[in-house]
Subunit: 193 residues, 2 copies
DNA sequence: GGTGAAGACTTCAAAGCTAAAGTTAGAAGT
DNA sequence: ACTTCTAACTTTAGCTTTGAAGTCTTCACC
């Protein structure tokens, strides 16, 4: 029902070498490289990059930015009255409290959230999703899930299951590998091949 | 030979819900969601995020930032004399030329690259990797590939092959899905679940 | 019930990015 | 040769984020 999602999808940056070219080039420069490993890692990085571009394009049609969408998602994930404090939001989004303050400023001025002091504890602030914010989230979610289903459409249900399981194993492995600071590391680059 | 890579690995942001919790919450709020699809997509996003944190930690031990490492990689990928113009670099990295100018400034002042006018065409500038830059790249590459092999160590060779192929199919699908601008979209968020 | 410490934001200065305007060298037409 | 166009950066202004330094409650202890 949607062979080409909408305006979704993302082309590679013009001059970028193809995956195979890239791996071949790395091997020339660094013999110890395992091409199979590199293939997986590079494909993962590129796929993610393209997907983020696609998400960004989609939500921008709704007049919100990708970063604003992140905040909407986090509030919805919190459930029911869709409230969280700036500190908690910052923690979950991996931002500094300072950045959170500014983001909330913007989003409040756009009517996506409200910001109020907690009357029971006037040190705390409560950020709450507005109806408009919730509506935007819903629209974005609809677009995103359509895009995601389209993306995976060539995979059989079995393949999807296996892919999910493998990714989760990898995820566990990264998280188990020498824990330390956790979150909020500067310079997380979106572009990682 | 390396069960815990080094100082690699990345913990989830403290307050973040687990993948399963997250998917359950989304389903509560949005019935149409296909949990299998969401599982794949969320795992992909998280995995990538954690990996970028890990890369960032590793290269910072070498005194370079993740963004600088990107530039080093691009120059090495260009091959042989490791030269590219700022414009070409910007295109491949998905940056604006303005940002590239500043990045090159920093990297030149740190001795990672040189910046010279092309004597044959004085409008052009040539950015060239220094020996130090190349050495940094090599060290970073060694750390990264060790980390990557460790990450995939629980997967059989078959699994790695299949995973790579599936990811490449997905990659093709994103790129084929309605091409348009390509690269350089503002607001590519690193954090995307 | 006064003082000190801790917690939860907010403010400020500086880094790095984008978009748009500005420069400068080479190319094209007349 | 003179003007105009184009290409390839660089500069400028404004935004978003970070890290560090406030500010303002609330809580604990004396």
């Amino acid at each position: 029902m949607s062979d080409t999602p909408d305006g979704a999808g993302a082309l590679p940056p013009p001059g970028e070498p193809s995956l195979d070219e890239q791996i071949a080039a790395y091997q020339r420069e660094f013999q110890d490289l395992d091409p199979q490993v590199e293939k997986v890692v590079s494909a993962l990085g590129r796929l993610n990059r393209r997907m983020n571009v696609a998400y960004g394009r989609q939500v921008s049609e709704l007049g919100i930015s990708n970063t604003e969408w992140e905040v909407l998602k986090t509030l919805v994930l919190a459930g029911a009255p869709y409230r969280l404090g700036p500190g908690e939001l910052a923690k979950r989004l991996g931002l500094t409290p300072a950045a959170m303050t500014h983001r909330i400023d913007r989003m409040a001025s756009e009517g996506l959230v409200t910001r109020d002091r907690d009357e029971n504890n006037r040190v705390r602030v409560i950020v709450e999703l507005t109806d408009e914010g919730r509506a935007k989230w819903l629209e974005a979610m609809r677009m995103a899930s359509a895009f995601e289903e389209d993306l995976l459409q060539d995979l059989s249900s079995d393949e999807r299951g296996v892919l999910g399981d493998v990714l989760i194993r990898l995820l566990r492995r990264v998280e188990d590998a020498q824990p330390d600071a956790g979150g909020r590391l500067k310079d997380l680059d979106p572009d990682e091949d």
